[in-house]
Amino acid sequence: MAEPIRFILNGEERAIAGLAPTTTILAYLRQHAGLPGTKEGCAEGDCGACTVLLAEPDGVGGLRRRAVNACIQFIPSLHGRAIETVEYLGRGGLHPLQAAMVENHASQCGFCTPGFVMQLYGAWLTGALTDRQSVKDVIAGNLCRCTGYGPIVDAGLDLAARPVPDTRAEDAALAERLVALLGGEMFHYEAAGGAWCAPRHADELADLYASRPDARLVAGATDVGLWVTKQHRDLPVLIDVSRVEDLRHIEAGPGRIYIGAAVTHREAASHLAEVHRDLGEMMRRFAGYQIRNAGTVGGNIANGSPIGDLPPALIALGARLHLRKGETARSVPLEDFFIAYGRQDRAPGEFVAAVEVPTLEDNQRYFAHKVSKRFDSDISAVMAAFLLTFEDGVVSEVRLAFGGMAATPKRAAAAEAALVGQPFDAAAADRAAAALAEDFAPLTDMRASSAYRLKVAENLIRRFEMELRDNPPARVSLAREFA
């Protein structure tokens, strides 16, 4: 039974009916709700000018808040949630952050400003603003063409120095209202020829998707959003997997982490960082903060992009992908999921349920590095991830995975063969580096030349070898150091 989208906008209950499910939150705010403070700079999640704050019940009586790009989020994702915009923040006079933005001249032309304000405010409320580095990290997905960012960072630091207010009582009250809005049934919205369903459990999802294999699954909409805003595609039936409770779990068990497909990058990041610091660093540079708040681990894998950052990182670790269709569940090694460009091992009606990531053993060494032209919010030129297992000083097992080198995320079989059964020394690294030319014939495009991709892939293998020596050269994380 179709129902309106019920949510709370800047403290007031609202209902939407009649607008197409693929209407973006930004279009709704600016055109229908009379709230043009939230800006459209790109309509594809690149600039952060449209940042708004979403809150949802956290299941234990409080709220979970996250900043997202309103330009690529669809309105049904508001159901049962609360949204705050820049207009609301200044309702009782300037918020201290807004005052600090004025004081520091953190706004020049002003068009990016509301996005920065909401991003910094949201991060502060959730305790993510601590020091200069944290301020820089949280605004990674906000572009400014005027200020040089320093004044914005300074304003963020002024805010970070202020105690976060205790909002538990208000949050609990709001959470209660939201739970009531959500209702007890699976959310189903229809308008203007489009339909949206948000199943709550994997069983519900499995039934629904098996009956409508033509539907498009959507989780964080960080890619699907662009199909609408950029490619103008019609998406008549959408199934929202982001509310499927059993797909949102992370289980950190002995020897492995089980990450549900609808876990966001932000939620997964801390767990991945515990597996290895390189994974934490990669996740810090993965897209921008708002995208990590919306995009999901399952989505990054299932859309099969040759330049997604997670697949190579997880393939190297020996991750397995869990899929489900109707009642049938199966799992495959992650690398086998990617068949060819734009083709994955996924049957109609089948969905990615989780990815299972082994943690490192004592005799294993891992390395991952994202190479991109721009430090944040950039697609990798090359993403490399390596895992070596040693027995008696000799490489017993090796997994070298790359993104950006082929039409799919791919292991380097010839280079791996050059390492197995040998000590991992400079000569072995050179042999593996030389063998990469058999594994890959990368493209030249605007992200990097073919020669560069091959060269940097070789260099990263050599760099890994240097790191495993007794006195490795320091590998400095520059963003931290230079902040």
């Binding site: 197409a20 309509a43 004025v102 004081e103 020049q108 032309c109 190479v371 950039d378 260099n459």
Partner: protein
């Protein structure tokens, strides 16, 4: 109407005396509160609700050819669609700033993405859907997209911002005879302004009168351009643009969205909103040209330049004569008896090239300042010492005096603060882990421009002042500076000043561009205030020079009268106009600076990270220490982007600007930018304008990128002459042993 022609220097003014203490102070932005609360209304946000129609632009799917047919039937029958505008008279893209109006297609396709149609519907979504249903059939011809290939066909353009050629002495002979020579060629790619606010317009007719809310930099010119495009008189058009989400030159000429919105609003009799998508901003507004620059420097063994040559090639669409004044700084920055500066223009079937932040210097100084760095190394001289040895005492082009010049002071101040003396002249001398560390510097200069500008200042009976002018604030701080100027002149605190800008019904100003806004528009406010002061002095029965205005009071001798009392219920109003005059012709005027940069280059991946950057800037009187610093910071980050990431990539098969979005056209993110440091030298240049300030908005970018690439060379020994210095070019240089000289 009081008009001041800038023929000679003014003596000490009320701005020097500073009775109210506003000029130069680091005051907060006048409209800051509106911007941080999201309440400043930008163009697209001015009309809502019933009756408003939405337009979506349809663009050409090829770069060159003829339009055979445009099938609009499906779009017309799509729900919500009201109208589909097509025709040979539609604007193809933005107008050239100096042009009469935007170019029209005339049935031909001149570049990929050219405007072909506008679909108008009851909602944005319906218009967007309708636009996706329009099909275009074209006869495609082979296009020209590569400047290198078209370089042999390049022509001498007519004079623009500067003459195409300037020469002195016998360059070829002096260069041939020079003891030490440098001859290198540099390339810079096309760039995009990428202001955060996409171009947008809302047009509405009432009878024969058109009102357009849009986002533009030059209200007066833009009003005339829009009227000309519509074939109506300028007085029938009113443009409103109070808040502008960045311009950087990309909104100097009227945009196609404004013309289209006005055209279709008339046809359907409803207000129409048109915003370009981000992709269309890249495709149908304008770009900065790509360039090829050959720089030759000949010098004596002790480092005196005897010959300096800067020959350049840039591109534009067929029929457009605008050329980037690449050699603008080379004309005057360094001494040398024999000089040759040339500009050639090649035709490309690519979007119109036009002005972008510091047209000329922004790319020309990359080549010049790299060449100076390379030449210093050849001579075994410190780069700053080499520049000092070639400091001219008069403009080397024509021996005219400089109005003011503090380049050496900027370099010395910067060197001291940055720790330049610790620099290792030899590349690759510092390494930290995987990172090769180096520092570099470059000089900065930006030719000073002044433009005619008018403003009205009203003193209200309640003692408040209102400044009225069509001047724009594109983020630069116009509101604030003009309020400070009026406040200082009339002795009023900031909260007693109201500034109304960006409305073509107000007196015509210089507009924003070429770093001339603060001096030009500020001077017009100064002149208007002077006229008001004369009248107040008469009321006080004293000479104007004996009248002090402070905190809303008039003081003359031992008499002190509150302004409100003096006005006695009367409002006073005066309009002031500034006209450029002989002071500009008789003197060479420019702002100067010096950039210092430290980079780390990763020996494994070729990634470059800027670790520190300092710019010392001198632009005459600093009107507001905060807005001035902000302008410099903005210029520096443009410089970092120019050096490392920004490049419009053109598909050589079909002419498509491939990276037409903010994901792939890489403006720097905050992690690409360290804490930038700016030092402002506060001077006065009374020959520049009554404000005694020179242009500052573009000084920060001029030369900044060269400081970055000079630092890359110092770090790793790789000289990238093909901008931007991306990781693949740097790593290739490292692999070729560039770092092991």
């Amino acid at each position: 109407m009081p008009t001041h022609v800038m023929n000679e220097a003014l003596g000490e003014t009320r701005l020097d005396k500073g009775a109210q203490g506003l000029i130069g102070k680091p005051l907060d932005r006048y409209e800051g509160r509106l911007k941080v609360t999201g309440k400043a209304p930008y163009a697209y946000e001015t009309r809502h609700g019933e009756g408003v129609a939405y337009g979506v632009v349809v663009t050409a799917p090829v770069a060159k050819g003829k339009v055979v047919s445009i099938d609009t039937l499906k779009a017309f029958s799509s729900p919500g669609v009201i109208h589909v505008l097509t025709g040979d008279n539609l604007p193809t893209n933005s107008a050239q700033p100096s042009g009469d109006k935007p170019a029209i297609g005339g049935g031909q396709i001149h570049f990929y993405g050219q405007v072909l149609a506008l679909v108008v519907a009851d909602s944005f979504e319906a218009a967007r859907h309708g636009a996706s249903l329009v099909t275009v059939e074209c006869e495609t011809r082979e296009g020209r997209y590569d400047l290198d290939a078209e370089r042999p066909n390049a022509k001498v353009p007519p004079p623009g911002n500067m003459p195409p050629d300037t020469a002195r002495g016998d360059f070829e002979r002096a260069f041939a005879e020079a003891e030490v020579k440098l001859d290198e060629t540099y390339r810079t790619p096309s760039q995009s302004h990428s202001a955060m606010e996409p171009h947008a317009a809302v047009a509405e007719w009432q009878g024969g009168q058109l009102t357009v809310h849009t986002s533009c930099q030059l209200v007066g010119d833009n009003t005339r351009q829009l009227a000309a495009a519509l074939g109506i008189k300028p007085d029938k058009v009113r443009i409103l643009t109070p808040y502008i989400g960045g311009g950087f030159g990309g909104k100097l000429g009227i945009g196609p969205e404004a013309v289209l919105a006005a055209m279709v609003a008339k046809e359907i009799g409803r207000p129409v909103k048109v915003a370009l998508t981000r992709q269309q901003v890249y495709q149908v507004t304008s770009r900065r040209t790509d360039t090829i620059q050959r720089v030759r420097i000949g010098a004596t063994r002790d480092g005196r330049i005897t010959a300096i040559g800067h020959e350049s090639w840039c591109s534009n669409m067929a029929g457009d004569d605008y050329f980037e004044p690449i050699g603008l700084s080379t004309v005057f920055l360094y001494a040398g008896e024999n000089r040759l500066i040339t500009h050639r223009l090649a035709e490309l079937d690519v979007l119109m090239a036009s002005a972008m932040r510091a047209p000329g210097e922004a790319v020309g100084m990359l080549a010049l300042e790299n060449a100076m760095d390379e030449m210093a190394e050849k001579l075994g001289l410190d780069p700053i010492e080499f520049r000092k040895r070639n400091e001219p005492d008069r403009n080397p082009e024509d021996d005219k005096p400089f109005s003011s010049r503090h380049l050496i002071e900027c370099m010395e101040e910067g060197a001291r603060r940055f720790g330049w003396s610790e620099r290792e002249a030899r590349p690759r001398a510092r390494q930290e882990g995987d990172w090769l560390i180096g520092i570099g510097m470059a000089a900065a200069s930006r030719k000073n421009l002044l433009a005619q500008s008018s403003a009205e200042v009203r003193l209200e009976p309640d003692g408040r002042a209102i400044v009225l002018t069509d001047m724009t604030d594109i983020g630069t701080g116009s509101y604030t500076i003009l309020a400070q100027t009026a406040g200082e002149m009339l002795g009023l605190p900031m909260d007693r000043i109201t500034v109304l800008l960006g409305d073509s019904a107000l007196p015509e100003s210089s507009g924003s561009g070429g770093s001339f806004g603060a001096a030009s528009a500020g001077s017009s406010v100064y002149i208007a205030c002077e006229a008001l002061i004369e009248r107040l002095a008469r009321k006080m029965d004293c000479a104007a020079e004996d009248l002090t205005l402070k905190d809303g009071t008039a003081v003359a001798g031992n008499r002190q009268v509150p302004l409100v009392e003096l006005l006695a219920g009367e409002a006073l109003s005066a309009e002031g106009t500034l006209q450029p005059g002989n002071a500009t012709k008789d003197h060479h005027q420019a702002s100067y600076g010096a950039h210092f940069c430290e980079v780390a280059v990763n020996a494994v991946t070729g990634e470059t990270r800027v670790r520190r950057m300092l710019s010392v800037c001198e632009a005459g009187r600093i009107l507001n220490a905060k807005t001035a610093r902000s302008q410099c910071l903005g210029g520096m980050i443009f410089g970092i982007g120019t050096a490392l990431t920004e490049e419009l990539v053109i598909d050589d098969r079909n002419g498509l600007l491939v990276n037409h979005d903010l994901a792939e056209y890489h403006v720097p993110v905050n992690a690409d930018v360290p804490q930038l440091d700016v030092v402002l030298l506060d001077k006065v240049d009374r020959l520049a304008s009554p404000m005694a300030s020179k242009g500052l908005g573009e000084l920060g970018i001029s030369g900044a990128g060269a400081a970055v690439t000079n630092a890359i060379y110092n770090a790793c020994g790789v000289r990238v002459r093909d901008y931007p210095a991306t990781l693949d070019k740097v790593l290739e240089g490292l692999a070729e042993g560039g770092g092991r000289q």
